[in-house]
């Protein structure tokens, strides 16, 4: 009994001490709508179509790649054939079913569709989330675009062209200690192809 | 039990079975020896860990039931398979061997319509009791409407 008390009493005091300690910590609440939160550079938010700044022409060529890749199939595009280039006759995006996976941005060959640093989707009418070309354009003017565009994403993922010599089983423990401090791929610019020969140790054979 | 030993002991016991050589050990038997294979895997090979049980619909070649069990001490995995044959949708139940097969077989019944004979409580598990059809069959179209919305 006495030994039990000797563990119980300090434990109770410790637990209450923890809550007391947190009482004097600064609350972490963010007054959200009053104080807008800061979005990271790569934020995947609202979608928008981009327009050429000088000519005012849309960048979309109506190629429908985004329509094909969209997992929940929320994008519908009709192509308008033209002489110099093609356009999107209609472009509709059902934002209420969108899952913000960024695959449409990823495949876009002309960087025409981008994501915005905004998540203010709340609306009283579901129909407002059925976005057509004009709305998508307007969204692009309203909000800050995120870093990612199709070309930047693809550049980041593409393995360097120079075929890496397959040097066998590089011991990872002996990896350059400098690797810890090197910061590749600054946001805002694509990852430069690394001059080092890429490590191409074969993936492990999972049982 | 090392994979090589397991291979030979299975080969000795199940003469007509197709037994792979890689890891995991893939063993394919006829449906009538299905439960016997599981019992053997548990008792002889020491595969006491029941990983999962499912089925594959090979269209006109019929359904195939797949189950995986592991021997955690020796790192031996056994993938057990049995082809039910075209049009057949009945199979022995592993619930007497592995208790974990209970829910897995219910799910299999739910999705493929395979009747596991000897299962104590073969009900639908994920879908509603009123559901019609077995969705994971290849003959079930993705856009088949749910009854009230037909």
């Amino acid at each position: 009994m006495a030994s039990e008390l000797a563990t119980i009493v300090p434990a109770v005091i410790r637990a209450m001490g923890m809550t007391l300690r947190n009482l004097f910590r600064k609350p972490i609440t963010v007054h959200y709508p009053d104080k807008p939160r800061t979005y990271p550079d790569r934020y995947r938010g609202l979608l928008a179509l981009t327009y050429d700044k000088e000519t005012g022409e849309e960048n979309c060529i109506g190629c429908r790649l985004c329509e094909y890749v969209c997992p929940p199939a929320v994008i519908k595009v009709e192509m308008l054939k033209s002489e110099k280039r093609n356009y999107a006759k209609t472009f509709s995006l059902e934002l209420y079913a969108c899952e913000f996976c960024e695959l449409c941005v990823q495949v876009c060959p002309t960087d025409a569709i981008v994501m915005m640093k905004s998540f203010d989707l709340a609306t009283a009418d579901r129909r407002e989330m059925l976005l057509d070309k004009d709305r998508l354009h307007a969204i692009g003017l309203q909000h800050q675009p995120s870093w990612a565009t199709g070309n930047l994403l693809r550049d980041m993922q593409t393995p360097p062209k120079a075929a890496a010599p397959a040097h066998a089983a590089k011991p990872p423990a002996a990896a350059t200690p400098a690797a810890a401090t090197v910061e590749p791929a600054a946001p805002g610019k694509a990852e430069p192809p690394t001059p080092k020969p890429a490590d191409s140790t074969p993936a492990k054979a999972d049982a | 039990m090392q994979p090589a030993d397991a291979h030979s002991s299975l080969a000795a016991r199940f003469s007509g079975a197709e037994i792979g050589t890689g890891t995991p050990l893939v063993v394919s038997v006829s449906p009538d020896r299905w439960v016997e294979l599981a019992q053997c895997a548990k008792d002889t090979l020491g595969c006491r860990f029941f990983s999962f049980l499912t089925a594959v619909d090979w269209k006109e070649q019929g359904l195939e039931v797949v189950a995986r069990v592991d021997n955690l001490d020796d790192g031996l995995g056994v993938m057990m398979k049995t082809r039910l044959g075209p049009g057949v949708s009945a199979c022995g139940s592993l619930t007497a061997v592995y208790r974990g097969a209970n829910w897995m077989e219910r799910e299999c019944w739910d999705m493929f319509g395979i009747r596991f004979e000897g299962h104590p409580d073969l009900r639908r598990i994920l879908l509603d009791d009123s559901w019609e059809g077995f969705p994971l069959l290849k003959s079930y179209a993705v856009d088949t409407a749910y009854p009230p919305y037909r």
Partner: protein, 387 residues
Amino acid sequence: MLDRSSVARVELDWAGPERLTMNMGPQHPSAHGVFRAIVTLEGETVVAVDAVIGYLHRCHEKLAETLTYAQYPSIASKTDYVAAMTSEFAYVLAAEEIGKIDVPKRAQYLRVICAELQRIASHLLWLGTWCMDMGGALGGGATIFLYCIRERETILDLFESLVGARLLYGFYQVGGVRYDIPSGWTQACRSTLELIEQRVVEYERMLENNPFFLARAKGVGVISRDLAQDIGIAGPLLRGSGISYDVRRAAPYSSYGDFDFSIPIETDGDCFARYRVRMVEFRQAITIIRQALDRLPEGPISSRPALKSVAQTRIPKGEAYARVEGPRGEVGNYMVADGSAKPYRMKWRGASFSNLSVLPHIIPGHKVADVVAIMGSVDPVFGEVDR
């Protein structure tokens, strides 16, 4: 006065002498989503339980047959939405195994870092919700829950700056990962790890030796070694029952063999043992991430050309079962490929599904209050149970 004869008086369901059948769920504060347990009570003691699942079923396995290898990873994250990275990981591993696709070392390390960060985030949510189950939304449980959520936010912030999303990431792709780390990320990651390391100590200070907590967790919901294997439960539950099985050690994938970490084992098999295992896993995950950050090699993040169209990734005929050690245990993906851009058949072995199926075996004999404690210690995520 209202004519009350028309209103059928609902009698208590008597299923024998002194028995009461009660629904817990599908809408219940501690249902962890949508789980329905039909419990039969004798006084406060549960004598029988029937688990009803499937309320969150979206037929992921059928979906996977209709979506390509490029599309599905971003949907795979929805199976286990608390540990979205894990399910994506299992899917791409299965595809890579069939296709014999190499993954660059850097991508492997990034995968490990994210998977372990996800493990911490998921365990934080588990600790919070479990304590909330035991302590109530109007008590100390809610306090721990909010502390855990507070720390989980910091990890989600990391994911957000890496991927752009907080819950469903789409980080993995066949052949590598989709995003490289931005500048300053490793620093942020290290400081987050330090913070979490401190805070985990704080949680332990609140719970360790705490008589109320021990009374609720010790000796409750014991899963025996035999039952654990027979059902096929995995992860912290299995290790809490004294079986040393961790896919990261049993079948190292994605360079897990490079890292130095230990696998915690407890032998009691009760809720407290599971708690102890997970508390150690916090620390082990932190160790692994630190090692991976230290040795993060330079190089490409994907071995395949960047995704340009939907059917770009084709996997040859074959089948594979890939498993990863998720926060809740072995998450497996059994994939049958037929050479096209979509899998022929894909089966999720959801860790929560197997873990949850142990409930009817262990709950009877416990009190009503223990039902929620055991449920919480199993840590089911219903997206993964119902898929």
